[in-house]
Amino acid sequence: MNSRIRLIDDDRGARGDSPTCHPFDSEVLDVQGLSDRCLGNLELVERVLSRFETHLPRELAELERLMEVGDTDQLTLAAHRIKGSSSNVSAAGLQRVAAEIEDLTRAGRVEDIPAKFRNLREQWQRYVDCRAALRRGGDSAEGHSYAPAFEAAIASEKAL
């Protein structure tokens, strides 16, 4: 246990004010990569994403609670879990920031964790936006569509 970590109440990212980003940025969610890793099984893709979306808010809340009580050992584990589950669904942005938090907790740099936690919330919001866009049909302002990713996934399943 380390000293208590003060959480700065400045999590605009979690409330939807995150910097705008392209919803199909593969750093946010690499649909094609996930589909490849699921051997093109789109039902499985959808199932693991839904499960991830159920889990992650709880994990974020737990991370936040641990920051408040200053339990760095458990913080390390919580950040590691988020890193792992984010990597499982190919959400590289979340994975990267969770890894940074894990590194900070291991290094004992607790004062830098709240700012990183805000980044993590921003990444989560970007992910949520991306998924919402995918559910709407994938048409973005730039005319992109997520459909090719899924078509490619279907093709790869047929190829098996």
């Binding site: 990569g33 699921c38 051997l39 693991v48 879990r81 792992g84 990597s87 190919s90």
Partner: protein, 351 residues
Amino acid sequence: MKILIADDDDIAVEVLAYTLSKFGYEVAVARNGREALDLVRSGQFRIVVSDWEMPEMTGVELCREIRRRSASGYVYFILLTSRQGTQSVVDGLSSGADDFVSKPFQPQELLVRIRAGERILALESRELVIFSLAKLAESRDPDTGTHLERMREYCRVIAHHLAQQAKFRDQVDGNYVRLIYMTSPLHDIGKVGIPDRILLKTGPLSREEFEIMKQHTVIGARTLDAAVSAHPEAEFLGMAREIARCHHEKFDGSGYPGGLVGEEIPLCGRIVALADVYDALTTKRVYKPAFSHEQAVAIVEEGRGKHFDPDIVDAFWDNEDEFVAIHEQLAEQEDQESQALRVRQAELVLQ
């Protein structure tokens, strides 16, 4: 092939289980290291794919426990983790893990790594088959107990020592040590061709009977000749044949079947000759009591340059503590097995 997945992350488990099933493997899941250890101990799983961070027991701790306790064959262990960096790889592999795969895993990469594991396990299966054949041949002679187990350990110790000597460095390497460990138990396989009235005779053999007994070296080599012809690329068969033929040759040329002298005798034959005699001396047989290690050492020394290659005797001298340790360890195992056998027999009588 059944694969055990050990991971507490539902998403990782779901993707991994689907992928491995799709590749044709039967999959079981443990949610923590302790549960995984229980399943591994059931003996059903030869391959484990484990997460590193898990509740109750981490993947690294799980691997260490498996290595510490493993008694029913080798378990191929793949650590799956999002940890990065050389130190993590070193830590993971130091625990006894065979391979290390980064999360998120790529299915094709995981598949080739599992197939590499299957090849390793197949090699072990080959060794088991060889050892089973040797045990089968030995089973007609009820007097030898764990002779084969001790023999191969003695051979390993000598070969390992020679590998570090300049004179033998070109001939003896890690592969040679592994091969002699694997094939030395086949030295007496030709005894399957010796009639029971001679093989199982408790009194001294007549000259004629001894001539027949000596034929076990030729019968064994001839049997293995056929295998060598069919698979000339299989090094272990070649070594097994040399051992079967030459383990009764003596350094001064007074041995059989060929009366070979000195380095005409293949090195593996010279190694097995000493290991075989030392074991025969230090264990009880129907025709003699067990000699002490000191008595056996004196007899081996007496045979330096006559029965035994002086270099092999030197290797024996330099490692005699290890010989004693092997003898004691396997004697203890033999006692336990005999006791377990007696208990089983008693239970059968009572049923």
